[in-house]
């Protein structure tokens, strides 16, 4: 088209080639910037599965009888205890009194909170001191070498 520019648009007027280049590169680059996240999204992350309600708390060999171990369950601490009888038990490690982290006391064979001397028995029941409620308990399954702790639904 060899027509002259209309008089009202006397301003910036790049040539057709420039426009096509700008448009083409803009569209390609922007679409690439939309597709890139999508492709990265599709590739599964390192932690392939959402943690949901169970976690491997420890290896069976890791825990001797009559000991306990604090592990991370979601964003809160939890306590895995191997009783003197060799049984595994798991509890929320958050004391029901003031949210301190409880621990297993080998000498008392009970769960103890260091903040105010609160005591829980191995069923998680508050038996002494200020805790007003029992600890939340979790289910424990041994799968091969792994001790798997599951939040009951």
């Amino acid at each position: 088209m060899a027509t002259a520019d209309p008089p009202q648009s006397a301003g910036f007027r790049p040539g057709r080639r420039w426009i096509n280049l700008l448009l083409g590169s803009g569209v390609v680059a922007s679409i690439a910037s939309f597709i890139y996240p999508a492709i990265r999204y599709i590739i599964p992350p390192v932690v392939g599965e959402s943690p949901s309600r169970s976690v491997v708390a420890a290896k069976v060999a890791e825990l001797k009888r009559n000991t306990g171990k604090i592990f991370k369950f979601g964003s809160r601490p939890a306590l895995l205890v191997r009783t003197a009888d060799g049984e595994f038990k798991a509890y929320s490690a958050v004391c029901t009194h003031l949210n301190c982290t409880v621990q297993y006391r080998e000498d008392l064979r009970q769960i103890w909170c260091a903040c105010h001397n609160g005591l829980y028995d191995l069923e998680g029941r508050n038996v002494s001191g200020p805790p007003p409620r029992p600890l939340e308990t979790f289910k424990v399954n041994v799968q091969g070498e792994d001790v798997v702790v599951t939040r009951s639904a």
Partner: protein, 413 residues
């Protein structure tokens, strides 16, 4: 034929045994027919724990329930009648102090109530002839007694305060005694009453500190022991602290000096220090060592709280932005724990001890805060990506705009 006969026999046997279990009791028969006060025991007794274990009127009051004449209540039949107030404790103790007898019903029940009662203020005054004091039935009820584990019982943990209040909050009744009458009202404002109301039956009520049958106010020297039965750490720290000796010298009871005795409210951090609500300044004044220590301890706690708050805030922001900060959040619970422990350690009144704990907490909180900073920085990388994408979008849009202008300027001519 044979079956019918068996059935009839069985029926008769069942009928007979039913009568055997509840034999006709002339006490109940007659008293039920009476009016007012005299009918009440017969009516109330149906739900009484003694009735539940198979005891009847005569087991306490004597007499012969099989005799249907007034003769049933004769001295000859062993009738004891109703005890006078001063005789009530012994009247109950006839059974309740007899271990062999009690074992037949409830082997777990103690049998030392009377001996304990005799050591109590109530018991001593009753012996001196003061009949206004409480004896067994004043707290446990008469004829409708329930075990203390029954929530309807006046001596169930949730009801004890109001039971004591019946006398102790009654100014008229307490006239002539030196005890105040506002204890229950003040107790009801306490953290203990609050916990009890929330259903924690292990939370203390009147009898937890004062005893039940041996009810006596704890003396100056035993206050710390009373509180320490539950608040173990505080007692341990307190007895080792300089306050122990100083309080003893001045004849001041321990814990209650700062925490009050009945109105024991949830303590706050501003009790420590030299501020308007601080309890330290009740004794300490500018210039003494305690004043300086109090000021420092308050500073330690405040410092940890500041760092803790900062870390919590940044991790909260990061989490709400969809960043994974569960690890630092678990770590941060340790800083929170350090704060709780530091609050306990205030009772050592040893400022360096408190500072050791708060500084531990500050370190943890600092690390968590740094993790939050890193997470937020990562979040801001997103914004950079957005910026790049936006530049491309602007390029494409301006290309489109120019294209439209080009097409339309062409088509218009």
């Amino acid at each position: 034929m044979k079956i019918t006969a068996t059935a009839v026999a069985l029926f008769l046997w069942a009928l007979g045994s039913a009568f055997a279990v509840s034999p006709q009791d002339s006490c109940v028969t007659c008293h039920s027919a009476l009016e007012g006060k005299q009918a009440e025991p017969a009516r109330l007794f149906a739900a009484d724990v003694h009735r539940q274990v198979g005891l009847g009127c005569a087991d306490c009051h004597g007499g012969d329930p099989k005799d249907e004449s007034m003769n049933a209540m004769s001295r000859a039949k062993g009738f004891r009648g109703a005890p006078k107030k001063a005789q009530v404790p012994e009247f109950c103790a006839r059974c309740h102090a007899d271990i062999a007898y009690m074992r037949r019903f409830n082997p777990k029940l103690r049998v030392d109530q009377l001996s304990q009662y005799l050591t109590s203020v109530h018991g001593k005054r009753l012996k001196q002839g003061d009949t206004k004091v409480a004896a067994c039935v004043d707290c446990h009820g008469v004829h409708n007694m329930l075990p203390a584990s029954d929530t309807r019982s006046p001596v169930h943990p949730t009801n004890v305060a109001s039971t004591c209040a019946r006398c102790h909050a009654d100014a008229e009744h307490m006239k002539g005694y030196k005890t105040p009458t506002d204890q229950v009202a003040r107790y009801l404002k306490s953290v203990h009453a609050e916990m009890l109301a929330q259903g924690d039956t292990a939370a203390p009520t009147c009898s937890t500190c004062h005893g039940n049958h041996g009810a006596t106010p704890p003396g100056v020297t035993s206050v710390a022991n009373v509180c320490g039965t539950c608040h173990v750490f505080f007692e341990q720290l307190f007895v080792k602290s300089p306050h122990q000796a100083a309080f003893a010298r001045m004849g001041l009871p321990g814990c209650v000096e700062c925490h009050s005795n009945h109105e024991i409210v949830k303590p706050a951090d501003d009790w420590v220090g030299v501020g308007a609500k601080a309890v330290c300044v009740n004794c300490h004044a500018v210039g003494d060592k305690g004043y300086a220590a109090a000021q420092k301890m308050a500073g330690d706690l405040a410092r940890l709280k500041t760092f803790l708050g900062r870390a919590e805030e940044i991790l909260g922001t990061a989490e709400r932005s969809g960043m994974g900060v569960s690890g630092p959040k678990v770590e941060l619970t340790n800083a929170h724990e350090a704060l709780v422990k530091a609050r306990v350690n205030v009772h050592s009144f040893n400022e360096p001890e408190v500072r050791k704990l708060t500084e531990q907490g500050v370190d943890i909180a600092q690390k968590a805060y740094q993790a939050g900073v890193v997470a937020l920085r990562e979040r801001d990388v997103r914004r950079k990506g957005l910026g790049i994408s936006l530049i491309f979008i602007v390029l494409a849009v301006s290309g489109l705009y120019l294209k439209i202008r080009q097409i339309e300027s062409g088509s218009r001519t």
